[in-house]
Symmetry: C2
Subunit: 143 residues, 2 copies
């Protein structure tokens, strides 16, 4: 596993080389009953994130991330990075926290943010993680 | 989304073109307390699957898929396919069921097995799913 504690130059290069994507489940009801024609909490969350945007991160709406009992849900992923799924997110309370967590994720080469540096909600509501398909990106700061 | 109901020729071509991987969390305690030196349920599950093998599928041990409260856990993935994470698996009861579910997954181009064809345990214990990084594979049966 590469050393993720590389300098800022390495972090910027990693970010530039490997795009990061934030997937947001737009169909999520956040565990609540709602009229069929009401706007879904997942849609509200996705719009709140997309309106302000996150530098260097593509925000992608997805119709179902299959974490319905513990939504709202987002997933962070990118080539060479671990994918992380986070749940129990609230569209009114958590957009800033999600931005913080995604920015830290994007600043790593392999997607693994040190545990203590993750937002508390991310530490307590990680639904699952999956390793990268390809081996993790090299530590560009050391090249 | 491609039509996944292609003929057997298309299914075989998709399988050959795009490798499928079954990730198994080997550190999982299955929600139980256990002595530090005892073999983990996740390790037992991984060995049970690897000993018999699954045709056309690579079985990969992973140290943590971060679904600790609902383990044991596996993830199915492959290039161009949706990734699915399944939990609450028992190393004694579920190896055959996992083989069935993975074989059906491998026979699709995009990883989406029709709901009614999935093993019941998979239907009830899907932890999360994540879309493919690249667009889904084309429906080779129609080329």
């Amino acid at each position: 596993m590469p050393d993720t504690d590389d300098g800022m130059d390495g972090q910027r290069m990693a970010r530039a080389a490997e795009p990061v994507e934030l997937l947001v489940c737009t169909k999520c009801r956040q565990g609540m009953e709602a009229p069929e024609d009401a706007e879904r909490p997942g849609t509200i969350l996705c719009r709140a994130l997309a309106e302000q945007g996150i530098e260097g991160v593509t925000i992608t709406p997805v119709e179902c991330l299959s974490n319905c009992s513990r939504g709202c849900t987002v997933a962070l992923r990118g080539p060479g990075r671990w994918t992380y799924v986070y749940g129990n997110l609230d569209p009114a309370q958590h957009p800033d926290l999600i931005r913080e967590g995604v920015t830290k994720y994007a600043a790593t080469a392999d997607g693994v943010v040190p545990w203590r540096e993750r937002p508390e909600h991310f530490r307590k509501n990680c639904i699952a993680r999956v390793p990268p398909l390809a081996p993790p990106a090299p530590n560009l700061g050391e090249m």
